[in-house]
Symmetry: C2
């Protein structure tokens, strides 16, 4: 019994012997156990809650007696009376070690707790926020030893938290004195670090113990929509999500139109910068209101966006991005303040982190996808395509990661498609065509039934059948190919050639009728030759980009494909492969990552180390510029065929046999050659 | 002859052997010789001019042949044709070493050149500015290796100047791309360091080689006037000086009235902050115009000011400075940007340095005096008094420095004096009273003659004799004491007691008539008992502060006295000592430092190391708060007598015998006890 009691922490397994009477928090700190505390052990913040385990633990070789920890003291009793402690819980700073004990640190008491995001893939985010709270008790001013209030705060942080040095955001200078006096010389400060070795920067302060939490915004600033997730930086929980249209749309639908707008209109870039910042301020206010918090508590914001959005957000004229060599003003990540960016809805000192851009056409959004999907950590060769108006493409494994972007255009999102529309109730999102009868059945957004199921028409009577959205058009074209009404070159057959009246003549080409709602005052939903050509252009660009990366890597197949992007999440892997959008892989090797850019933004928001990691990764990525690669054109031309004129699709052949039809008649003069190379 | 040629640099004396063909600049760099270069040795900036010496130099043991350096090359020839090189000069980056040579680096080619300020004491300022220019040639963007323009600038700085890492001011992000292209990928950047080991921050950039120079403002932000010196940061030369009234005067004449204004009026502090910043913007524009430069070139500004001005400049409510314990919001030095301070006349990225405050009443102006006068480097014990509405007092030698402030009030500046006025033409600035006849003679501002000299009245007819300024009232009171019309207690004798009709009765006290200009429609200039009391209060406060520091230091005399302050420069040392304003020392040990605070600001502007030095010194200074020191009152009461009731003035006695008169009559009821303790 001469030995000090043994203290074992779970789940870390860290253990050590401590003198009787050592507070559990002290033991945890000495062992480097991840046990949170904001008040520094004063029994007021309750962040250090732990659960002792009692009984026999053969695995650990200890018996834990009922009196292994000190009895409840007054501080714990008062805390329990006022706030309530969960059964079995103790305050780590109050309970002291008496005998051998096993102590469990529940997830909510860990600073570096892991948060599982609610998406298909179970990506885990480890909490390691850049901004943390510190409760301190500050010495009152003394005429005998006159130092500023700020300098006494710094001294308290050194004495009570062993923080050597801090800097202070200018916006706090005028606020510190009243806060200190309101809190009777007890205050909570928020310290931000851009790096582990950085001098922490004081960016907020509250009188006494601050219990209102800290929040962060992860913002995916897209050309069309701006979406934001408001995250509790303590728990990692998303407390509100919101999105608004990017008001820059009035200056141009796609990226290049916006670059043109700034070229044609003096001060046009300034107008667009103002518009997006105003929208961000509105979004911030709305999302804070939705979560029921004050925006004053939002101290971190992370941005991911394409290069043009990146420059316009930062107030940089995107002029250079509109012409070769597509030079970015800056490609590295940026640490800024809300005051610098003019984000007035946030506190002036709120910290902004913008992910690095990979290249002139491969932006911080692609970096975010890289952070989320981690191709560089994949043992097998993964192809990641973020499908949008501009597709970002990543190819990599633990050896090397390559990246490029490809100008797919808006066809995949239902734009420039005759019956195309945005994904909204009434839009056809899935379709099947019977290979024998060539008759279609479909599903529309807002109804779970297929059109040949009972009740479909009743349930869709309200919305009607209004058009085809992005995922619908991909399925339609692929199903037409499977059913043999479309040949490999992308020609729709005539009624005679296909044996169905649904194929009808329009000028010198043919179209396929999906649904005629004109009886009900609705539209006639068809797939025209023009639609096929638009989809061919888009999918050829996407495939050629992927194929170019494979060529650079010296491979002609990949092990798996990940489809990402808000829109990518809705694409049917089988149909994408029939179309030849993505390379041939076993179907179960095609997965969907959902909004991976948004996830990457959330990871960077919650974890400081992830920021350093993605900055390093981005520097190491091999950047490929499709515009100057000769083979891109070769791959593009071959990819015009459905699925492809040059590359075999053996895995696809195992599950689908595409009819060997040809509708070449000389009646079609639209070819893939007159491709408009537009970005965005 | 197998040895490499010997190269000796003067004035440093550094020497070394270098292979034939080594450029002089390269040799200088390898030896650590201070030879400037902005263009990095490309022969375009001409900063590296040197002068070779030819002939025999027995002292150095070398003979320098005429062909010791290479012949003029085309670059030098072209430079000379276009700009002209001074006779004997060479470009250090072009001339190469051929034989043993002695090379003189003229002051204008040294980065750390020494600048002698044009003041009484020959204080030398070594140039070591925080912001320096670097000319670089930047790699053009390349699609094969896409990095941002900013990242390629950083790479050029690493390759061409061995600068490891930079940060970039946010305001430059949008400017870099057009500048790079305008300069055809050649640019000059200004890098700022707050510290020698700091990561340099890019704060300005120009296309090609920037030859417009860099400028800095040293600003002494006083309660009454704001004065600024615009300095060329390359040469250290003051190119323009300007001053304007502090517009905060409309909120209160002295410091405490301004603190009261902010207490009484919600948002009052904000109003005063806005007023002073507006004035600084006006001053900046005026001084730039006076020097014929654009304010875009002013990249550094240093502020010295008292604590209330300090807080109002920074946007901090000075509320706490109005009451014990006079807590400063922050006392340390500050590094800010013009954008943060709202100094819109300066470039947004212009760097602001604010000197540290010593204590709640001893501000950054006192720190600047410390930097300029260096009491901590004085081998003998020096007392430094910065005389103003509030006096800052420093006592120190190499052992230790003590500081306090004392509320002298405005009497020394001629305010609250019956015939007092600001120092302006027509004001009496010097006076002598004949001890026998008790008749005065005087000099006024705007005329070099004494009033008893021929031509005085003609020359002053224009201005008239309008009043007494600060230095005049000090001399008047001291001369009255020497002439025996005033006794040691501060009573003016009657006509009978003094034997002169110039002493006349006013109510129950007497006054002394200096000049009656009523015949000419001017005023009757007198010194009243009230004036004597006001001066007694002021000088007692000043002396008591000094005496308190001496007491704390355990001495009853000092070795020398330095009078500083715009007003201090005009005070006659003899009269100050007769009055008992300053302690007794041999008269030749009283010197005048002029505007030492302004000089301190200029030193901090020109020399980065000086900033670190004063920050360290300020931390080490022993701060004394007169308000809580019991002996202050004791010293104050004793100092009411002229020169002093308790302390002997043996040195003064050697040169002046003060008449042993006493005019005590019971007719005077004004005493030193009813002292108003006002700061400011």
């Amino acid at each position: 019994m001469s030995q000090d009691p043994l203290v074992i922490f779970t789940p870390s397994g860290k253990r050590g012997r401590f003198p009787v009477g050592t507070p559990v928090l002290t033991a945890a700190r000495q062992l480097g156990v991840d046990l949170d505390s904001v008040c520094g052990g004063r029994g007021i913040c309750s962040k250090c809650q732990i659960t002792p385990s009692y009984g026999d633990f053969p695995k650990h070789g200890v018996h834990v007696a009922q009196d292994a920890l000190s009895e409840w003291n007054k501080v714990e009793q008062r805390y329990d009376d006022i706030r309530g402690l969960k059964a079995g819980r103790r305050l780590g700073c109050q309970a002291t070690v008496q005998r051998d004990v096993i102590i469990d640190v529940p997830p909510e008491s860990q600073v570096h707790r892991q948060v599982v995001r609610k998406a298909a893939s179970a990506r885990v985010i480890e909490m390691d926020p850049a901004t943390r709270l510190y409760y301190i008790e500050v010495q009152e001013p003394d005429m005998h030893e006159p130092t500023g209030d700020l300098e006494r705060i710094a001294r308290a942080l050194k004495a009570q938290w062993d923080i050597e040095k801090i800097s202070t955001d200018f916006s706090l200078l005028g606020k510190i004195q009243p806060i200190l006096r309101k809190g009777a010389w007890k205050i909570t400060v928020a310290l931000h670090k851009t790096d582990e070795n950085d001098i922490p920067r004081m960016i907020a302060a509250w009188p006494g113990l601050h219990e209102g939490g800290l929040f962060g915004l992860a913002i995916d600033l897209g050309s069309t929509t701006i979406s934001a997730h408001l995250t509790n930086l303590d728990t990692g929980e998303v407390v509100a999500s919101s999105g608004i249209m990017n008001p820059q749309i009035r200056f141009g639908e796609d990226l290049m139109s916006r670059v043109s707008y700034s070229m044609m209109n003096k001060g046009g870039d300034k107008e667009m910068t103002r518009a997006v910042r105003d929208a961000l301020n509105t979004l911030t206010e709305e999302i804070a209101a939705e979560a029921g918090i004050t925006a004053e508590l939002i101290l971190e914001t992370v941005f991911v966006c394409n290069p043009v959005m990146h420059h316009l957000l930062l107030g940089i004229d995107p002029f250079e991005l509109g012409q070769a060599p597509f030079a970015l003003a800056t490609s590295d990540s940026l640490n800024l303040t809300a005051a610098e960016l003019g984000l007035t809805a946030l506190p002036a000192a709120a910290q902004i982190y913008v992910l690095p851009c990979i290249a002139g056409h491969v932006g911080a959004d692609a970096a975010a996808v890289t952070l989320s999907e981690e191709p560089g950590k994949s043992p097998d060769l993964a192809l990641i395509v973020d499908v949008g108006t501009n597709a970002e493409i990543l190819l990599g494994d633990t050896t090397r990661v390559l990246a490029c972007s490809s100008p797919t255009g808006p066809a995949f999102e239902g734009a420039q498609i005759s019956s195309g529309q945005r994904a909204a109730p009434g839009a056809i999102e899935a379709i099947r065509i019977d290979p024998t009868t060539k008759e279609p059945r479909f599903r529309v957004i807002g109804c779970d039934k297929w059109s040949d199921e009972d009740g479909f028409w009743e349930e869709t009577a309200q919305t009607g059948i209004t058009g085809i959205c992005g995922s619908g058009i991909i399925e339609a074209v692929a199903e037409m190919r499977i059913a043999g009404v479309l040949d490999a070159s992308g020609l729709i057959g005539s009624a005679e050639q296909t044996g169905t009246e649904r194929c009808f003549s329009e000028g010198r080409t043919h179209s396929y009728l999906i649904h005629d709602a004109t009886d009900q005052g609705g539209p006639r939903i068809t797939v025209t030759m023009g639609d096929i050509r638009a989809i061919q252009l888009a999918k050829s660009a996407l495939y050629a980009g992927a194929r170019l990366l494979m060529d650079k890597r010296g491979v002609d197949k990949v092990d798996r494909v990940v489809m990402a992007g808000a829109f990518g999440a809705h694409i049917s892997p089988l149909h994408a492969m029939v179309l030849g959008m993505i390379p041939d892989v076993p179907l179960d090797k095609v997965t969907n990552a959902g909004n991976a850019a948004g996830t990457g933004a959330r990871i960077a928001l919650c974890n400081l180390k992830a920021r350093r990691e993605i900055e390093k990764t981005v520097r190491e990525i091999t950047k490929i510029e499709t515009a100057i690669e000769e083979r891109f054109t070769e791959f593009f031309v071959a990819a015009n065929a459905i699925p492809n004129a040059a590359d075999p699709f053996p895995e696809l052949s195992k599950i689908v046999t595409l009819p060997d039809v040809s509708f070449k008649s000389g009646g079609d003069d639209s070819t893939g050659g007159r491709r408009r190379r537009r970005r965005g």
